[in-house]
């Protein structure tokens, strides 16, 4: 009974977590919630695992649980991977802002497009019309 209570609380946590992930990644959310619901069912009806395992062609109930656990782990890995990608996108945006804010631009590139003179023009950081320039930053 104690094990059932503890497991129920944990699985309820997984269920809630899956629900909160619905907007970020529906796939991960649905997989998590399905795993949690199946888990809850099996925690409260352990005798069903053996029957269910037999139906699925798995020898023992314990094996069924093991396989389910593997599936849940893979799902967690996928979830982590997607979070890392989201982080990477944030880093990219940040780096892009920094790069654009610190652009090194020649004083005048508009005129003399055929000009092949050596680059003696002083280099000025940034451009006033670069929209990503941070406010209050001095060149």
């Amino acid at each position: 009974m104690i094990a059932q209570a503890v497991l129920s609380v944990l699985l309820a946590g997984v269920l809630l977590h899956g629900w909160t992930q619905m907007r970020r990644s529906p796939l991960v959310a649905w997989l998590s919630m399905a795993a949690a619901i199946v888990g809850l069912y099996l925690v409260w009806a352990p005798s069903h695992t053996t029957e269910l395992a037999a139906v699925l062609g798995i020898g023992r109930g314990a094996d069924l649980i093991l396989y389910l656990w593997v599936c849940i782990s893979l799902n967690l890995l996928l979830s982590l991977h997607l979070k890392l990608r989201a982080q990477q996108e944030t880093v990219t945006k940040l780096a892009r802002h920094i790069a654009l804010a610190n652009a090194v631009v020649r004083a005048e590139h508009g005129q003399a497009v055929m000009d092949t003179a050596p680059p003696t023009v002083p280099q000025l950081p940034g451009g006033a019309d670069t929209p990503t320039r941070m406010r209050g930053q001095t060149a």
């Binding site: 970020r24 892009r96 654009l100 652009a103 090194v104 590139h109 497009v113 055929m114 990503t132």
Partner: protein, 229 residues
């Protein structure tokens, strides 16, 4: 002369540790009057110094993010500078400068928003067999996933109008960016043309280029993008 005074063409050159070839590539471009923005993608060699001495503009990622991210940064910069036409041009010396004029001319003649370089339209192209097979597979994949009928899906030489560039939402930082650009072109619904260009394969560009084993990574990246947000 490739541009009139009223329109501006910006060439975006993503560069990661390209000190060996960058100088030659940039002088070829500036000699033809193109405004070049080099996106230094966190290079550890003298790429940035070389770029700053030749290019009209240099933007530098503080860390290495990948070629896709570099292209997106360069495009954002060129748009902010009021570019009318944008060209993507690899820094490893595999593209030919005269091809740019043909891409821009194709944009103007067709009214399309994207002109994509194709090494297969020009007829025979000398290249390693494995690379050829891989590119064919990529072409088939693109047709299946985006509906675009192209002869060459992984060519770094492209030209686009301001409207075309602004329509791209690029999030693939690394290898999958070429496929992503095509997917975004398909999504935009804007017109595109293919233009024959020549790729000069050198040992250097082949060594820096993608490998066959990268194809799987690209497929996984494209799939992953569909899974979140």
């Amino acid at each position: 002369m490739h541009s009139t005074a009223s329109e501006s063409i910006w060439v975006v050159c993503p560069a990661f540790n390209e000190a060996r070839t960058l100088s030659g590539v940039l002088s070829g471009l500036t000699a033809q009057g193109y405004r070049v923005v080099v996106v230094d993608d966190g290079s550890r060699d003298s790429t940035r110094q070389i770029a700053e001495s030749v290019a009209a503009a240099v933007v530098s990622h503080p860390v290495n993010l990948g070629q896709g991210a570099a292209l997106a940064t360069g495009i954002a910069f060129a748009l902010a500078r009021g570019a009318d036409y944008l060209v993507t041009f690899d820094s490893d010396g595999q593209h030919r400068v005269p091809d740019i004029a043909r891409l821009i001319a194709a944009l103007k003649a067709s009214g399309a928003d994207y002109a994509l370089g194709s090494r297969f339209l020009a007829g025979k192209q000398r290249m390693p067999l494995l690379r050829k097979m891989l590119l064919r597979a990529a072409t088939a994949f693109t047709a299946l996933s985006t509906g675009l009928r192209l002869t060459d899906t992984h060519n770094g030489l492209r030209a686009m109008t301001r409207r075309g560039a602004a329509a791209l939402d690029l999030r693939q930082n690394r290898m999958a960016h070429a496929s992503e650009i095509l997917a975004e072109i398909a999504r935009s619904g804007l017109a595109y043309v293919e233009v024959p260009v020549t790729i000069d394969y050198t040992e250097y560009s082949l060594a820096k280029g993608q490998r066959a084993s990268d194809a799987l990574t690209i497929l996984l990246d494209l799939f992953a993008r569909k899974l979140h947000r």
